[in-house]
Symmetry: C5
Subunit: 321 residues, 5 copies
C-alpha cells in the first residue's frame, strides 16, 4: 500500500505525485522523490524496483520480514534494514523498515503493524534547510526516529530490572523473580540484536569512508551512532546485572532454605525433648517414686513445658526462631 509519494525540491515539498510520474523527477538536480510503502505486495514492489533500478536481492529482503538490521551499498545507492521495537503489555513487538535510497529517491517499506512515520515527514518538511541534504537526510530522520523509539523500551527494561532488584532480597519471591529475570534476559537479547547491527551501520555512515550519498550528513549519523552506543551500554548493563541477579536469586534461595532448616530444626528439638520426657515417665518401672506423687503429673507437665520454653528461648536468642 502506498502511504505517500511526494516530490521535493531544494528541501521544499512540491506536491504529491503518482507512481507513473516518478520518472519525471529522477535525475533532476536538487529534486528527489520520497515514497513510503506499507506491506506492499510483490507486484507493487516490482513496479518500484523497475522505476528506481533496485537490486533484486534487496527487494527480496524488503518483502521478507525476518531480516537482520543491516546497511548495504549497491553502487551509489544505499539499502538499510531497521527493526522497530515497541513494548506492548510487557511483550516486545518487532516491526521492520527497509529503506532504499539513491540519488533522487528514497523508498521506505514498512512491514508488520506498528507506528508509521508521518510525523517524521512532517518534521522534515518543516526544516527545508535540513531536508535539502536530500535522501541521506531522510534516512537519518527515519533512523533517528526508530532509535529514539528504542529509549522507552530500554527504560522499561531498566525499570523491570529495578523492580526485580527491589524484590530479590525479600523472602518467598524467588520463583516469580526468576521467571521475570529470564523474560528480561530474552527481551534484552532481542533489543541488543536490533541495536547492535544498526550501530555498525550508523558507524559506517559517520566514519572515515562515508558513501557519497551521505557526505553532508556525517554529523547527523554520528549522533544516531552515539545514541545507539548509549543503548548498547544500557542494554549491556541490564544484561550483566540480570545474570548477576539470577545468581543472587539462587543464593537467596539457598540462604532462605538454610533459615527454614534452622527454624524447623529448632522446633524438632523442642518436640524431641517433650517426647523423651513423656517416654521416660511412660516407662513401666515399679519403683518410680515421682509417679505416685500427688502433684507428679502437673509437675511433669511443668518440667516438659519448662524444658521446651527454655529451648525456645535459646533458639530465639541464636536467631533460629
Amino acid at each position: 500500500m502506498i502511504i505517500n509519494c511526494v516530490a521535493y525540491e531544494k528541501g521544499h515539498r512540491l506536491h504529491d505525485i503518482q507512481t507513473e510520474e516518478i520518472g519525471d523527477y529522477l535525475g533532476q538536480p536538487d529534486r528527489f522523490v520520497w515514497v513510503a510503502l506499507h506491506e506492499p505486495d510483490e507486484a507493487e514492489m516490482a513496479r518500484f524496483q523497475a522505476v528506481f533500478g533496485l537490486h533484486e536481492l534487496a527487494v527480496e529482503d524488503a518483502l521478507n520480514g525476518h531480516q537482520r538490521p543491516k546497511l548495504e551499498e549497491y553502487g551509489q545507492s544505499l539499502f538499510v534494514i531497521m527493526h522497530m521495537i515497541t513494548m506492548r503489555d510487557d511483550q516486545l513487538e518487532t516491526g521492520q523498515v527497509a529503506v532504499f535510497a539513491g540519488p533522487g529517491y528514497v523508498l521506505s517499506v514498512r512491514l508488520h503493524p506498528g507506528r508509521g512515520f508521518a510525523e517524521v515527514r512532517q518534521r522534515c518538511e518543516q526544516e527545508p534547510a535540513l531536508l535539502r541534504h536530500g535522501p541521506a537526510f531522510v534516512i537519518y530522520a527515519l533512523m533517528d526516529t526508530i532509535v529514539d523509539r528504542y529509549f522507552p523500551v530500554v527504560e522499561a527494561l531498566q525499570a523491570e530490572l529495578e523492580s526485580i532488584e527491589d524484590q530479590i532480597f525479600i523472602r518467598g519471591t524467588a520463583r516469580r523473580s526468576l521467571e521475570r529475570l529470564y523474560q528480561l534476559k530474552r527481551q534484552t537479547m532481542r533489543l541488543k540484536h536490533a541495536a547492535m547491527p544498526l550501530g555498525e551501520a550508523a558507524g559506517h555512515l559517520s566514519g572515515v569512508r562515508v558513501p557519497t550519498l551521505c557526505h553532508k550528513t556525517r554529523e547527523y549519523f554520528r549522533d544516531v551512532y552515539d545514541h545507539l552506543n548509549r543503548i548498547e551500554a544500557a542494554v549491556d548493563t541490564v544484561r550483566e546485572m540480570t545474570i548477576t541477579a539470577i545468581q543472587v536469586n539462587l543464593s537467596m534461595v539457598a540462604i532462605d532454605e538454610g533459615e527454614v532448616h534452622k527454624r524447623l530444626a529448632a522446633w524438632a528439638a523442642i518436640f524431641a525433648v517433650a517426647t523423651i520426657l513423656a517416654g521416660i515417665w511412660g516407662m513401666n518401672f515399679t519403683h518410680m517414686p515421682e509417679l505416685d506423687w500427688r502433684l507428679g503429673y502437673p509437675l511433669a507437665l511443668l518440667v516438659m513445658g519448662g524444658a521446651c520454653g527454655w529451648l525456645y528461648q535459646r533458639f530465639r536468642r541464636a536467631g533460629w526462631l
Copy 2:
C-alpha cells in the same frame, strides 16, 4: 561417482560431456564445465586433479570427510569446504561438500549421504543471465542452498528452546529439561562451527579484496554473508539463553526443593504434636484425673485431632501446605 558433467556456454547448458572431453572445453572464453561428484574414490579424484590441475592438499581435504569449513585460494582457483547440516529425528547430521572452482570449471565433491544439489543446477540453468557469471555464480548457488538449509535447523533449535522454556518453570521436569538443554547446547555448538567459518569465507568473497574469479558476484556473496550473520545471531541467542536456562533450571530445583521441605516440615510438626500428646497420656502417673474420665479417651482424640487441624490450617495459610 559422477553425478553430472555438463558444459555451459554464456550461461546456457550445452550438453552432458564425458570426463575425457573436459579438456576440450577448458580455456575457452564464456564456457565452463560443471562436474558434480558423490563420494568419489581416489582414482576418480586423481583423474579430475590432473584435468583441472588441482592442488594435492586440497584434493586430500575433499576426500577426507572431517574438514572444517574454509575458503582457500590457489592462484586463480578457489577451494571451498562447506558443511551440510540436517536435522533427522532430533539428531544433527553433518555432510561435507568441497567445491573446486577456477577459470572454466567447477567441481563439487559431496561426501556422506544427504540431499544432493540437482535442484541447484536446475534453477541455475533456468537463469542463464545469472549463470553467465560463470563458476563463481555456481559457488554462490551451492553456498546459498547450503546456508538456506541451515534455517530449518536454526528454527528447530529455537523451537526446542521454546519448548524447554515452557516447561522449565513447571515442577518435576528438571531432569528432562536438563538433558534437553545439554543436548541443545551441543547441537548449537555444532551448527555454530559450521556457520561461523563459512561466514568468514562469504565475508571474504564479498569484501574489499575479492578474488578475481568472483568480481561480478560480490553482491550475491554479501547476501549469503548476511544470511550467515543472521544464523550466527540466532545461534548466539539460543546458546546464551541455553546457558541461562541451565542456571534457571538449577534455581528451580532449589526452589522446588525448598517447597518440598516446607511441606514435609509442616507434616512433621503435625505428627509431632500428636505424638507428644499420645506420649503425655501414656505416662504412668498415678494421679492423672483425665485418664479416669468417662469421655477422657474421645476427648483426648478430639484434642489431638484439633491440635493437628489447627496446625494444618496455619501451615495452609502460610503457604506451606
Copy 3:
C-alpha cells in the same frame, strides 16, 4: 547560569568580560575566552551557540543530562562529554560536564549539583606557561580533575570489596554480603561506563592522529589516558572479584548449611537413642525383670544418659558438634 566568563592572553588572565564582549576576543592570536556555565537554560545556551558557532546536535547533548561520555570533532572544534561521579552516603551520584572548545574559546556546561571547577581555573591561572597551550589545556585540566575525582570512588569500591571479603568466610553473614556485593557490582558498572568511553576519548587526544587543537598537549592527555587505564584495571579487578565473591558466598551458604545439618543430625541421633530406650522400658511385657529392680529406674536413666553422652562424645570428636 554563568559562573565565569574570562579572557586570557598568552596564558595570563586579562579580566572578566560580558557575554556581549566575547566576540571582540575571538579570532585574536594568543587569546582565548573561557566560559563556565551551570545548568544554563535554552535561551542562554542559544546565545553562546550563536557566538561560538556551536553545532545544534552538540548543544542539545549539553543541555540533556543523560549523555554517554564522548569526544566529538566538529571541524576544528571539539566537543567532550564527561561524567562526574561522587560517592555520597554509599551511593554514587553522577553529574555531567560538557565542554566545547575551538580556536579561541572554551565553554564548559555543568549539569546537576556537584563540585564545581573553580579550583581548576585557579590552578590554571597560576601556571601561565601551561595555560598558554590554550583551550586544549583547559580541556585537559578539566578532564584531569574529573578523572582524579574518580580515584576516591575507586578506593571506596575497593574498600567495600575488602570489607565484604573479610566477612564472607564468617558464618551467618551471607545475606548481608550478598546485598552488598550486588550493590557493589552495580556501582562498579556505573563507574566503568563513565571511565571507559572517556578513556577512548583521552586515547584519541594522545594518539597518532591528534586533532589540531591538541597538538601541544598530547603528553598531558596521555597522562589522563594512563589514569583512566589504571581506573579501568582497578574496576575490572573489583568486578571480577565481585563475581567470584558471589560464587564463594553461595558455596559458603552450602557449606554452612551442611554443618548445620550435621549438628542437627547428631542431636537427632542422641534424642532417638533416648526415645528408643524409653520406648523399650515402656513395653508391657509381663516378664521384664529389670522393671522390678529397686534401682531399675535410676539405672535406666543412667543408661539413657550414658548412651546419649557417649554419642555426644563421638559426634564431638567427628567434628559434627
Copy 4:
C-alpha cells in the same frame, strides 16, 4: 646426542656427514644440511651455534625445556618452538622440539623422551620434488607431523567427554564425573596452550608477509594452519561443553538430592503414622473400649498396617517412592 646429520642436494640425500664437514656444505646453492639432535648438552649446542651462527637467546630457549610454542625470525633465519603432546595412560605428556632453519641448514633439537622424527626424514627423502623447497619444507614436515599427532589426543579428549556425557545423567556418578571433568578441563587447557601459539606461527608462515625462507611453502603452512584451526575449534567445543557439564552435574546432584529427600520423607510419614497409632493405644485412659476387645490387638496391627500401606500406595503413585 646427534641423531642424524645429513647433507641434501636438490631434495636428494647426498650422505651422512660429520659435524666438522657441515661448513663445507653451507652457502652452496640447492644444498642444505639437516641435523637432528636429542637432548644435547651445552657444549654440543655451542658447536652448532658457532657453525650456523645461531642467536644466543634462541639457543638458550632450545636447551631450556619449558618454552611456549613460538616462531621467531632472526634476520633470514627462523626459530620455531613446538610442543609434542601425547596421551599415555590417560595423562598428557609434553615434549619440546626447537627448530632452527636458515639458508642452507635445518637443526632440530628434541627434548624429553617421546617419539622421534625418523619417519619424517624418511618420508621427505622419498619426495625429493618437495624436499627441494629446502629448509622451509623440513620445518613444514616437522610441524605437520607434530600437529597430526595432536589429533589422537583431541579424539581421546572428545571420547572422554562423550563417556562422561553418557554417565552424567545416571544417578550416583556425580563425584566420579566431576573428577573426570576437572581432569579433562586441565588437559584441554594444556592442548590449547600448545596448539594456539603454533597456530599463530603457522598463520604467519602462510600469511601475506611470509619470511623469504618460506616463499614457496605458503600453501603447505596454510594446510597446517587449517589443521590447527580444526584442533582449536574441537578444543573449544570440549572446553565449553566441559564447563556446561560441570554445571549440569551440579544440577543433577541437586535433582538427585531432591529425589532422595522425597523418598525419605515418604518413609518418615509412613513411620510417623504407625508411631502415632501405637502411641494412641499406649495411652492410659481407663475407658478405651477397643483395648478390651478380643481382637483389639490384631485389629490395631491391621489398622496400622493398612494406614501404612495406603500411604505407601499414595506416595508410589505420586512418584515419591
Copy 5:
C-alpha cells in the same frame, strides 16, 4: 637515596661520578651515565629532572608509588614503569621501579623495600659487548630481571593450585579450599595486572616501529616479551582452573551433603523401626498374648535388634552407610 651513579664508555665502566659531574658525560658519543635511586625525595628527583630534562608528568609518576606498568615515549627518551612482585609468607608484595632512559643516560627509581638491582649492574659490567648497546640494554637488563623474578611467583601460584586440587575431592576440606581459591584468584589477578601491561611495553619495544633508542636491542626485548607471554598463559590457566575449581568445590559440597543425608536417613530409618516396635508392645490391649510369654521380652529385643540389623545390612549394601 642515590645507590649508584656510574659513567660507562663503550660498555666499560669508567668510574663512579658525582651528581654534579653528570653534565660532563651527557652528549658524548659512546658514553652514558647510569644512576640508581632508591626512594628519592622530591628535591633529589628535581635535581635529576633538571640534569636529564625529564618530563614533569613522568617525574610525578616515578615518585608516586601506585602507577600501572607502562611505557611512554617523550621525544627520544623512554619512560618505563614496572612492578616488582615477590611472594613473602604466602602474600604478594609489590614494589615499583621507574626507569628514565635517553641518549646518554639511564635513571632507575626504585620505591618500596624489595630486592635491588646490584646484581644486574654487575652482570652488565661483565659483558661490555652487550652493554655497549647503551641505555636500551640497561632497560632490557632491568626488565628481564624483573620478569625473571615473576617466574617463582607463577610457580608458587601453580603449586598452590595443585595443592588445592589434591585436596578438593577430599571430604571436609571445602571451606579451607574455598578460602585458598579465593586468595589464589586475587593473587593471580595481581600478577596479571603487573605482567600484562609490561607485555604490551615489551611488545612495543620489539615490534615493527621500535623507538630509535632501542634499534639494536629488538631481539632482547622480544625475548622478554616472550617470557611475559609465557607468564600470561600460565596465569590464564591458573585463573581459569581456579574458577572451575570453585565450581567443582560447590559441587563437592553438594555431593558430600547428599551423602551425609543418605547416611542420616539410613540411621533414622533404623531408629524408626525400633521405635515403632517398642510402641506396639507398649500398647495397652488386654489380649496381647506375646506380652505374657516367658521369653516375650528377650524375643522382642531380638526382633528389634534383628530388624535394625537387617536394615543396616541393606543400607550398607546400597552404599548409604
